[in-house]
């Protein structure tokens, strides 16, 4: 542990509730409701908005002093019913905050009580994610929320038949043997998720992606800005999850959500800690080949061959890199391990939180640390990989700085980046090399 200090200096962490918001933003028709004071949601909207360059719909129970004294239980009930009446969402997704977790609002009983008072809301699915600010980082909040989504909504019976359109009926008649559940971690950009789905389709699979940021936060002009999420996983897709041929989860943080599907519905589950790098992609592609019973498509082999050629062409420069990395754990592991396997040296590896620290390993030990620690230790490196907030460290040390993670607000196009698969790995290595030249 690096923590001889009692404070975080230039934290790289984001709040768990921000991670929860991100997960909810990948679910179509969902209204995200943060149970906390107004600042909690305001900061999240601002942070996500400057990263994605997108409007971020996030509602709040707007707690004030009286609720701190009397509890926010009634506020939560009121928040859900006001939001349901005013915005008519298909789903409401609630996440808690440090404030409400400290005085211990019981969200489950609040919801049960509301359902008694408002039987007309009984058909409205409400997802409850517990995301106290004082446990973990964005990755943990996202993880808990995906688990809550899967637990609450998988196999969900839609009560009003009118909500089925022709498309969803067609979908439900699809061969379940071809349907694969994908659980992407928050280390994957909307661009990555798009790429991931395309790779699945190359093998003839029909992916159901939970959450699906590639069609909600991908930054497209057709979006009708609204208080509820547009694009993302459909409620009907959740209903089809139990019949999937397999579940593939990405990032160690998504392992538990995948296990929930596996244990509840007896679906085979495979977890891939990383999708960046040659060997990580090899493992993934071989799994797809095996599951599909098909040979690896020619196009993918060609991409692999190009990556190999790039490795040969740039092996010397890659081998000379000394890189200090500070990122959320799943992204840290994905990017750093792909650099290690091509001969680069990781000089500093700082994770935002404890999650997975005992299970994922690099040639140097991964420690929990902030960007002030990065600044103190990265002096002998040739490159920093961190979110945009690493700019202070990079500036002081006069080192090049490749932006990754969240927030990235001072570079164009990060959410559209594809750094997974053979082609994405090649692009990541190019981006890395170009940032030091």
């Amino acid at each position: 542990m690096t923590h001889s200090r009692h404070y975080q200096g230039n934290p790289q962490k984001n709040s768990p509730a921000l991670g929860a918001t991100l997960a909810y933003l990948g679910v179509n028709g969902l209204l995200a409701l943060l149970h906390g004071s107004q600042g909690c949601s305001s900061f999240i909207r601002l942070q996500l908005s400057r990263h994605y360059k997108e409007p971020i719909p996030l509602n709040s129970t707007a707690l004030l002093e009286d609720s701190v004294i009397f509890g926010g239980w009634e506020h939560l009930k009121k928040g859900i019913s006001v939001a349901a009446d005013k915005y008519k969402p298909q789903i409401i997704g609630v996440m808690s905050s440090g404030l409400t977790e400290t005085y211990g609002d019981d969200m489950v009983s609040a919801l049960a009580s509301l359902r008694l008072e408002r039987p007309d809301l009984n058909n409205m699915p409400v997802v409850l994610a517990s995301t106290p600010d004082y446990i973990g980082s964005m990755q943990e909040g996202y993880q808990r929320t995906v688990e809550a989504l899967v637990t609450t909504l998988a196999g969900h019976q839609i009560k009003t038949a009118g909500q089925f359109d022709a498309q969803s009926i067609a979908n439900s008649n699809e061969d379940p043997a071809l349907t694969i559940a994908l659980l992407p971690g928050c280390h994957l950009t909307p661009g990555d998720v798009d790429e991931l789905k395309e790779l699945l389709m190359e093998f003839g699979f029909k992916p159901i992606t939970v959450p699906d940021l590639s069609i909600s936060l991908d930054g497209h002009a057709e979006l009708e800005a609204a208080p509820v999420v547009q694009g993302g996983t459909l409620l009907e897709d959740f209903q089809r999850l139990p019949k999937c041929r397999a579940c593939l989860s990405f990032g160690l943080s998504m392992e538990k959500a995948g296990d929930i599907l596996k244990n509840t519905y007896q679906i085979p589950h495979f977890n891939f800690p990383s999708l960046t790098g040659l060997t990580a992609t090899d493992t993934f592609i071989l799994t797809l080949a095996k599951l599909s019973g098909r040979a690896v498509p020619e196009r993918i082999l060609r991409q692999r061959s190009r990556l190999l050629d790039t490795l040969a062409d740039f092996h010397d420069r890659l081998g000379g890199l000394k890189i200090a990395v500070a990122l959320e754990m799943d992204l840290l592991y994905s990017l750093a391990s792909s650099l290690v396997e091509v001969g680069a040296e990781i000089t500093v590896a700082l994770a935002a939180s404890q999650a997975g620290i005992h299970r994922l390993s690099l040639p140097i030990s991964i420690e929990v640390g902030d960007l002030e620690t990065l600044e103190e230790r990265a002096g002998q490196s040739t490159l920093i990989i961190a979110n945009s907030n690493g700019r202070q460290a990079a500036g002081l040390l006069k080192l090049p700085h490749l932006r990754a993670g969240l927030p990235v607000f001072d570079r164009a196009g990060y959410p559209q980046k594809r750094w997974i698969g053979y082609e994405g790995t090649q692009q990541f290595l190019f981006d890395t090399l170009n940032s030091v030249s």
Binding site: Y7, Q8, G39, S49, A226
Partner: protein
């Protein structure tokens, strides 16, 4: 240990709705989607531009982690204020209390960063678990040679406005006039209250002040150094720029130090001139006033000459103004200078006085936007179909989805808009936005419907 609200004079709070005004500053309802912020945010907005001090947030990561170094306040010297510092309250701190950790953090930061002072912000969680931030600051101060100043601003106290006022109290009680400072007034010196040097705004004002022989003692708190703030009581005049929420501060400074205050704005030609003349008048120096009158005339002519070309582009454009606080009315006159008509204006965080001023400046047919949620915003855009939107960064990406030219005037912007030079910058940027060819592409049908293709 909570901030003593009665001490804050909230009784005369500017939140009583007046005849004809919408219910401003109304409490947000749960689930309503008002998209406002909290008292902690309000306090940090006011205090965090102080450049050479450390700002330590005693709370979980949500308070500081999501928000540090995210405003455009700029410094001519120390960059210490941009450092995100937080005790990062964890589960064990919630259980066992965070006071020890806080004290250790204060001492470590004092050693590591050598600040002129440390501001310690209490938050919802630290207040709820009963950490006595005042006591810890006092204890730490005894072991250090610098002031350690508690800011009791847990988010649940209310909106941003309340946080602004708390920050004003803190400045008055703990900073201004503190330490070993001289007492006598500096002639022809002013403080700019509520000017945060966003995108370097203040650097567009100082040359004009200096030219006239007016000294800026300090801005509160844009590009402010701690020692200059301590001597803020030596100024001859306070000029309240933005945020009526700091009225409490100027009133108290008037009573305690005999500093009169005036209100002003440096957005737009008219307001800049008017404010400079008001300053000269209030400083009670006939020679200065005479020079100022000549000077502002000259600057106005120069500026109008430069912006004439932009005005041609912008004249008669229909705009929606969606912003908050004092910016509502100061922006109305800026846009009017460029010949832009305002179809509707928003009033988030504005006081009834702000509102009345805005109403007086606007066309009587212009609408006041009462629903400041995203939904309300979209509704008004759909109804009014404006040529351009002028608003804070919060609504930027929402506005882009409506395929309407948009200009960000809030704290996220990169360009200074204050003073005469700021007006030129503003006009140039606004013209560039309106003239940009991208809006045409965004509004073009693609592919054309078959029937239309046949026609061509």
């Amino acid at each position: 240990m909570f901030t003593n609200l009665t001490k804050l004079d909230l009784k005369d709070k500017p939140c009583l709705s007046e005849a004809g005004s919408p219910k401003l500053c109304m409490r947000a309802l749960p689930g309503e989607g008002a998209e406002r912020s909290c008292a902690y945010d309000g306090a940090r907005v006011v205090l965090m531009p102080i450049t050479d001090v450390a700002h330590l947030v005693h709370g979980p990561i949500a308070c500081a982690g999501n928000s540090w170094d995210n405003r455009g306040a700029r410094s001519s010297g120390s960059q210490l204020f941009r450092r995100g510092l937080t005790t990062d309250i964890m589960e064990n701190d919630v259980i066992y209390g965070g006071e020890k950790k806080l004290k250790a953090a204060i001492l470590e930061i004092a050693t590591r960063h050598d600040p002129k002072a440390i501001f310690v912000y209490a938050t919802c969680v630290s207040s709820l678990i009963g950490d006595d931030v005042n006591k810890v600051c006092l204890e730490a101060e005894k072991e250090l040679t610098i002031p350690v100043i508690p800011v009791n601003c847990p988010g649940f106290l209310g909106d941003k406005n309340i946080g602004n006022r708390i920050a004003g109290e803190v400045l008055f009680e703990r900073v201004i006039g503190s330490g070993e400072v001289l007492q006598e007034k500096i002639p022809r010196s002013i403080n700019l209250i509520g000017e945060y040097n966003i995108a370097g705004d203040i650097w567009g004002i100082i040359p004009d002040l200096n030219h006239l022989g007016i000294t800026l003692q300090t801005a509160i708190t844009g590009d402010a150094k701690f020692d200059d703030l301590r001597s803020a009581h030596r100024a001859s005049l306070n000029v309240l720029i933005c945020s009526k929420s700091l009225t409490n501060l100027v009133r108290k400074m008037e009573i305690q130090y005999g500093i009169p205050f005036i209100e002003g704005s440096f957005y737009g030609i008219h307001d800049t001139s008017e404010t400079l003349v008001k300053i000269a008048t209030a400083l009670n120096d006939p020679d200065l006033l005479a020079r100022t009158l000549v000077y502002v005339k000259k600057r106005e002519d120069e500026t109008r000459k430069v912006i004439a070309g932009y005005k041609k582009v912008l004249e008669n454009k229909q705009a929606i103004l969606f912003t908050g606080g004092v910016k509502t009315w100061s922006m109305v006159s800026t846009l009017a200078e460029l010949g832009i008509n305002i179809l509707a204006g928003g009033t988030q965080n504005s006081t009834p006085e702000d509102f009345q001023r805005m109403k007086a400046l606007m066309d009587p047919t212009a609408q006041i936007i009462e629903d400041t949620s995203s939904a309300g915003f979209l509704k008004i855009i759909a109804e009014k179909k404006p040529d351009l939107i002028v608003a804070g960064g919060k609504t930027k990406y929402l506005a882009h989805k409506t395929r309407t030219p948009f200009l960000d005037i809030n704290h996220g912007r990169k360009l200074p808009y204050a003073g005469y030079d700021g007006m030129i910058q503003f006009a140039e940027t606004l013209s560039r936005t309106v003239l940009s060819p991208v809006w045409g592409h965004l509004r073009r049908e693609f592919p054309l419907k078959e029937s239309e293709q046949d026609d061509s």
